[in-house]
Symmetry: C2
Subunit: 520 residues, 2 copies
């Protein structure tokens, strides 16, 4: 990338909340301090040596200080002699910084900037809250409703834009996506960019292709602008180019490089792998080392997990912030949560679609059902979609949301949006600060409560003529019968307290919501 | 019971294949030998002491011989001075017998009879076959399609007759039923008979009420006449009268008495308990002892199992002939079968109905689905039904098939009958002697084959546009698309071999059957 392109990127970044300071023109002092939103990016851009191999030969870091606090942030080489340090300030006030490096031209650069109140839509990074749940750093509740477009950043620019347009009107606020390109069924093309210089089917692991990572950064920021968390998959086994079997030191360098580049973006989550247990060349020690690198190198403590195929990971391990399971035993959610004492996301529970693979042809009704099962178990679900037409397959033109992005065709997203709305409404009844806690019901493992403010029951394939709901004696509640498929919400006349017998429709897949009547 | 009544019972019994010989009039020799169908009952009736307590004071047994074989069969006291020995001959030819007893009047009674070819409908007891399956003793395949009417023999005579009339036209060929009366929701009445003399809420455990057991025998034979196996539940925790906490020696005497009375009926299965782990007064040693008594006392080796609530039993234990699980993890069926190396019946997978309990309000569609899941996993399912109306509940008149019997109201039985017909048809394609074995498919754990003669795939909530079915290269197959709910079977034109791609309806809950084209 040349300087002109870099400036273009910086401008684009500024639009999405990055304050970029190019100190390359000055000597040891930066230009006047700038204002940076809390949880946005302060970016220091420095000119340095471009000879030799700066990826290996040059190191750069900066120490950022506010009050008594100090954070040491790794910089990275962005090609063409440009070095950067990206920093996400988490506290309001004036920060100062000073760089250090093994190269004189990058050493001792000083400056300061001010962190200001974030603008609308900037709630900061998502954190674990109330053991089993999530919330943004500013206290706003965050209920993950994820989807997957594993290889969307490696598709045509048009398709990427279409994916963003789709996400804009979808209920999804988290996207699982791979950093490396993907080789798998319906994914048998080279990407337009490679993470390492590559010639004659050989990767030059001694260097990175900054262009590759700049592009991903742009897409992370595009997601950020849409309020979508980027659940970045650091390794995966769907490979054709060697990235699943790189030398250990390259793995580690890649991780540090990715963290130095991406960690300052507030909407980043780290997923060590998709289906880690299918990566035959990696062993437990490798995964332990990766977990340690991510945990110790990311200065901001972004959310961290790992995803398996057959061999469930022990999510009670300290480095994991949450469990991201590939499983369909929704009735086990409660006991798994208790075991892990962490939030539980069913990150892959098959995909709505019609393809010739068991994992890719769920009905929309079943995908909808799975989201409800997750939510009432106090867990969270992950969506994905794999619809194809025979014509598209014949013409090698199949675009599957699951991997490529594009448009959503299924029947579940509208229902997932409906469920998300119900959760959001329930939350507003509470104090909006505490997230949800759950109540295990005697029969239905399906009640979710917000400090006795709201209860949500999902009846799944049960069709009782009536059911006695165990409400608290201490409050009065309004009741609504919910049809998750028809997306209707029908109030039941009256106010209810204690054991409440409601006559129901005696049809399956219904839900009932109780909301506490506010005391005026 | 007086003699006249007893004769009446004997006559009724004769109609259903019991040859009863009353030797009480003669001295040491019986009357002329009679013909008894193989696997029917030869019954020896003897007069003995009625003073004191013959249940405790008198023992009787008979040794039956054919060729070099010898079987020693326990007799039992049937009240009013009448002693009986019931015997189910399993070999054709002439049998002799001689009694032994601690009472002179019952000792040394001799006789003989001839076992003849069984009539239509008498296939002998069901046995385990091909590790995971069942067959009648004469080689006829037996696919258990069970239902439950736990307390049907303790209802009014009219209701019992209605239950039998319902079973006659139902698909069900196995019935789980309790020997002891039942006390539970919708079951809060004393039975008309008690197993022990009972006064002032106290059971006289030193005696049995023969009348009670005679009635159950009549019902076992009624089921036999309908081709229904009686899966007899020997203990259960839904008790109000003390039968779940009898002294150990009473438990054991009860078991021996029941076995002496019932074991000669070819359609008997032993289920040690329903929800054994809810019987708080029993411990593992008790269950081990019961298993040993049943295994060692039943001369015919009827099928034996046990049923749990929460604590899965280790069905790999030698005494169990098959696993009878209460679970809904149908995807675990294949691995459980492998662990146990025995047939696997999901004996309780909730009930179709509409009651206010999670286990009793499955939709008919879900019950149908569960049967399909069992079958294509190489396991078997169990039906039950719990429909009520609010009026019936208010008038205390609710009749629930699950416990009382009566009429079936649900939508699943017709679909279960449809599935059973498909299995029966598949079997007739094979040699009819080997039962079914299964093939685990790479994606669908859902293919069932009969030595490559027939394959059955169930797509559950999957809705592929097409699917490539891995048929053997060695045969040619006809294909039918099955709609398990609409109960339709639509042939697909052509003959198929090897990897077979079929375009499907892309709707969920469909099935596909392949039947080998016969070589003329």
């Amino acid at each position: 990338m040349n300087r002109r392109e870099m400036m273009k990127t910086s401008s684009a970044a500024l639009l999405t909340g990055i304050a970029s300071i190019d100190t390359s023109a000055s000597a040891a002092e930066t230009r006047s301090p700038e204002n940076v939103e809390r949880w946005s990016v302060f970016e220091l851009v420095l000119d340095g040596p471009k000879d030799g191999n700066p990826f290996l030969d040059t190191w750069l870091k900066a120490t950022f200080r506010i009050g008594a606090r100090e954070m040491v942030i790794d910089g990275f080489y962005d090609g063409e002699g440009v070095f950067k340090v990206r920093f996400m300030p988490d506290a309001l006030g004036e920060w100062t910084y000073i760089t250090d490096s093994n190269m004189a031209s990058l050493k001792g650069k000083k400056g300061k900037f001010k962190t200001i109140t974030p603008g609308a839509g900037n709630h900061g990074p998502v954190r674990v809250r109330d053991v089993y749940h999530f919330g943004y750093s500013d206290g706003t509740p965050y209920f993950p409703f994820g989807t997957t477009c594993y290889a969307w950043v490696h598709q045509s620019e048009e398709l990427q834009e279409e994916t963003l347009a789709t996400l804009k009107t979808s209920p999804f606020n988290k996207l699982r996506m791979c950093i490396f390109p993907k080789w798998y069924q319906y994914n048998h093309r080279d990407p337009s960019r490679f993470p390492f210089p590559r010639q004659n089917q050989t990767n030059d692991y001694s260097r990175f292709n900054p262009d590759y990572f700049q592009h991903i950064e742009k897409r992370i920021l595009d997601l950020q602008a849409l309020g979508v968390e980027a659940d970045l998959i650091l390794f995966h086994p769907y490979d054709h180019w060697g990235f699943q079997e790189m030398p250990a030191e390259v793995d580690d360098r890649y991780l540090r490089y990715v963290i130095a580049r991406f960690a300052a973006y507030r909407n980043v989550w780290w997923s060590l792998a998709n289906e880690y247990d299918l990566m035959r060349k990696k062993n437990t020690a490798d995964w332990d080392r990766f977990a340690e690198i991510v945990t110790q190198t990311d200065p901001y403590g972004h959310l961290r997990s790992i995803h398996y195929s057959k061999a469930p990971y022990d999510y009670s391990r300290v480095w994991c912030t949450h469990a991201g399971v590939q499983d369909y035993a929704f009735d086990k959610a409660a006991s798994w949560r208790e075991t892990y004492r962490k939030p539980l996301i069913f990150d892959e529970m098959m995909y709505e679609g019609n393809i010739n693979s068991r994992w890719g042809n769920l009905s929309g009704a079943e995908m909808t059902r799975r989201f409800w099962l997750c939510i009432v178990a106090g867990a969270y679900g992950g969506h994905g979609e794999t619809y194809v037409s025979e014509t598209d397959i014949e013409n090698d033109k199949a675009v599957l949301w699951w991997s490529h992005g594009g448009k959503l065709k299924g029947t579940s997203p509208a229902r997932i949006a409906f469920l998300k709305k119900i959760l959001d409404e329930a939350e507003t009844v509470g104090d909006g600060q505490i997230g949800l806690t759950e109540l295990q019901m005697p029969y239905y493992p399906s009640a979710k409560r917000n400090r006795d403010e709201a209860f949500l029951f999902y009846l799944d394939f049960h069709q009782p003529l009536y059911y006695t709901f165990p409400l608290p004696e201490t409050g009065k509640y309004r009741a609504d019968v919910i049809d998750p498929w028809a997306m209707t919400l029908t109030p039941i006349a009256g106010e209810f307290s204690g054991k409440t017998r409601l006559t129901l429709s005696a049809t399956p897949y219904m839900a009932v919501r109780f909301m506490r009547v506010k005391i005026k």
